[in-house]
C-alpha cells in the first residue's frame, strides 16, 4: 500500500514567501541597544516546528532503504516521510508535542541579554498563539497550564543559553525537544557495576547501548543520541543536548571519536528495535559525542535521546544585518 515517497520539501522561495518577516528585513547591528529580534525569532520557530532539517530527512530515507519494502519498519519510515511533507506543505507542527523550547544564543559585545530574553519570550508566546507551538509549560505539582509556554516565576521556560563571542554576528539556534524522548534520556556514573562499565571508552559504549535498549521505541525511534563524557551533572546533560545541533553525517573533529560514533551507530542498528520499536534495522540515525573535562572523582556519561523528528534550526544575523536560516 505504501508507495515509496521521495521527500522534496517546498522551495526556499515558497518558505520565504510565507515568512512573518517583511521582505528584505535587516537588523541594524550598529545600534544593538535598539535591536528587536522578536519577529526573526518567530520566523525561526515557524520554520523549526514545520520543517525538518535536510540531514535528518536524508538519514530517515537511508534508513527506509535498509528495510525490506512493505515491512512494518519500511511502512513506518514511509509514514514519517509523508508526515514531513505534510507539515512542510501546510506549515503546521510536525508533531503535536512541540517540546521544551531550548535556545542557544551567541552574540557580540554590547547586546543586552535581558532585552533579548524578553524578545525571545514574546516570540514564543506569539508562536503559541499562532498554533505553531502547543502550550507545554505546566506547574509541576498542580499540572496547571500557563497557556502561553511561559514559566511566569522562575523563567525556566523557554530555556535560553547565552554566550558572548568576539564576532559581529548574532546566532540563535533553537531545538524543540519532545517529552517522550526527554523521558528516556539517562545519566551514568562510572564505574557502573550493574552494567560492567569502567572508566574508559568501552565503559561509555556500554552505557550508550544500555540506554538505547532501555528506551526501546519509547523515545520515538529511530532516534539521535547526544552524548557528553565528563563535566558535572548539569554541564554534562547540557552538553549532551547541545551536540544534537550538529548535522548528521558531519565528522566529529576528534578522529578517534568520529570512528567511535560510526561504529556505535552501526552496532546499535543491529539491536533490532527498529522504528517505533516495531522491530527493524533502523534504531538510531546517528550518535554525536563530545568529551569534556571532569572532576577526578566524577565520571559522568550523559545521554540525551532526540526523537526522529529532530526539530532544530539556526538563524544567523550577519555582520551587515541580513537574516539567514540553516
Amino acid at each position: 500500500m505504501s508507495e515509496c515517497l521521495i521527500p522534496t520539501l517546498t522551495s526556499n522561495e515558497v518558505v520565504a514567501s510565507k515568512s512573518v518577516l517583511p521582505a528584505g528585513w535587516k537588523a541594524d547591528l550598529r545600534n544593538l541597544k535598539a535591536l528587536d529580534l522578536t519577529q526573526p525569532v518567530m520566523e525561526l520557530l515557524r520554520r523549526t516546528t514545520s520543517r525538518l532539517p535536510q540531514d535528518v530527512i536524508d538519514a530517515l530515507v537511508k534508513g527506509r532503504a535498509a528495510e525490506t519494502e512493505g515491512s512494518r519498519a519500511f511502512n513506518t519510515l514511509n509514514d514519517m516521510v509523508e508526515n514531513i511533507l505534510l507539515a512542510d506543505g501546510n506549515v503546521t507542527p510536525l508533531c503535536q508535542d512541540t517540546g521544551t523550547v531550548i535556545f542557544f544564543v551567541h552574540h557580540p559585545y554590547g547586546l543586552s541579554q535581558r532585552a533579548l530574553k524578553q524578545q525571545i519570550r514574546e516570540a514564543v508566546a506569539q508562536a503559541t498563539k499562532n498554533v505553531w507551538l502547543r502550550p507545554n509549560c505546566v506547574e509541576a505539582l498542580s499540572g496547571k497550564n500557563s497557556g502561553n509556554n511561559m514559566d511566569p516565576f522562575h523563567e525556566g521556560h523557554p530555556v535560553i543559553h547565552f554566550e558572548e563571542w568576539d564576532r559581529p554576528e548574532i546566532e540563535i539556534a533553537v531545538m524543540l525537544k519532545g517529552g517522550g524522548c526527554e523521558n528516556v534520556g539517562a545519566q551514568y556514573r562510572l564505574p557502573d557495576a550493574s552494567i560492567g562499565a569502567g572508566r574508559d571508552l568501552k565503559g561509555v559504549r556500554k552505557c550508550i547501548i544500555d540506554a538505547v535498549v532501555k528506551a526501546q521505541g519509547q523515545g520515538c525511534s529511530p532516534g539521535i543520541l547526544g552524548v557528553a563524557i565528563g563535566g558535572d551533572r548539569v554541564t554534562s546533560y547540557e552538553k549532551s543536548k547541545e551536540v544534537i545541533l550538529r548535522k548528521l553525517g558531519t565528522k566529529n573533529p576528534n578522529p578517534a571519536m568520529d570512528a567511535f560514533e560510526k561504529e556505535l551507530t552501526n552496532d546499535l542498528n543491529t539491536l533490532g528495535i527498529g522504528p517505533m520499536g516495531y522491530g527493524g534495522n533502523t534504531t538510531i540515525l546517528g550518535v554525536l559525542v563530545e568529551e569534556m573535562f571532569r572532576h577526578p572523582a566524577s565520571f559522568y556519561v550523559s545521554i540525551s535521546y532526540m526523537c526522529w523528528s529532530s526539530r532544530r534550526r539556526v538563524m544567523t544575523i550577519g555582520s551587515t544585518g541580513e537574516v539567514s536560516f540553516d
Partner: protein, 192 residues
C-alpha cells in the same frame, strides 16, 4: 493491511494478532491522563454509549477553532500510553472498549484487561502529528473541554484510514515484549 471500522465486535478483535497492520475508520474518542483518572474513579454513565465497542486514542492534539465555531485538528499524534496503566484495564472493562491507540505499549495489567474483555492495543507512529491529523476527517463533538482543557478533553472524531499496528492482542501477545527480549540478548553480545 486490515481495514476496520468502529464500532468493532469482539469477534473481529479476537482475530487480530500482534504485528497486524490496520487501517482504522469511523469514530474514535480521545482521552489521556485526566480523562482516565476520571473514568476509573467516577465511572460516568453518560460515557457508556459513547465508548461501547469503540476505540480510545491517547492523544493531546493541537486544535484550531474555526471562525464558524467548528474545530480542526492541526497535529494529532499519539502520546506515551504507559501513564494510563493504572486505569486502562478498568476503563476497558467498565466501558467495553475494543481498542486503545497510543505509543510505547502498555503493561501486564492492561494486557490482562485486553484478554478478559476482548480488546487490542493499537500502536500509532509517534511524531506523525501532521499525517494523523490529516486522517481526521471531522471533529464530531467534544466533552469536558472546559473542565479538562483542550489537550485532555474527550474529543470525538471521525478518522479515515488511520494507520496502526497491533502491538498487544487479546491473546496475551505483545510485540513490545518480543522486541525487548531480542534486543536485550543482542545487547549482551555487543557489550561482551
Amino acid at each position: 493491511m486490515i481495514r476496520l471500522t468502529t464500532p468493532i465486535t469482539e469477534v473481529q478483535i479476537r482475530q487480530l494478532k500482534v504485528g497486524d497492520e490496520v487501517l482504522l475508520n469511523g469514530r474514535v474518542v480521545l482521552s489521556r491522563d485526566i480523562g482516565h483518572k476520571f473514568m476509573k474513579e467516577q465511572k460516568p454513565e453518560w460515557l457508556k454509549p459513547i465508548l461501547e465497542n469503540m476505540v480510545i486514542y491517547h492523544c493531546g492534539p493541537v486544535v484550531r477553532k474555526n471562525p464558524d465555531g467548528t474545530w480542526t485538528f492541526v497535529a494529532a499524534g499519539p502520546t506515551t500510553s504507559i501513564r494510563e496503566e493504572p486505569y486502562q484495564a478498568d476503563v476497558i472493562e467498565t466501558y467495553k472498549v475494543r481498542g486503545v491507540i497510543g505509543k510505547g505499549g502498555m503493561g501486564k495489567k492492561t494486557s490482562e484487561g485486553l484478554q478478559k474483555t476482548g480488546a487490542v492495543y493499537l500502536h500509532a507512529t509517534g511524531g506523525a502529528g501532521s499525517l494523523l491529523a490529516e486522517r481526521v476527517k471531522r471533529v464530531v463533538d467534544v466533552k469536558m473541554l472546559e473542565e479538562f482543557g483542550s489537550p485532555e478533553a474527550f474529543w470525538i472524531i471521525e478518522v479515515e484510514d488511520f494507520p496502526l499496528v497491533v502491538t498487544m492482542d487479546s491473546h496475551g501477545g505483545s510485540l513490545h515484549e518480543i522486541v525487548a527480549q531480542q534486543s536485550q540478548e543482542r545487547a549482551k553480545a555487543l557489550m561482551g
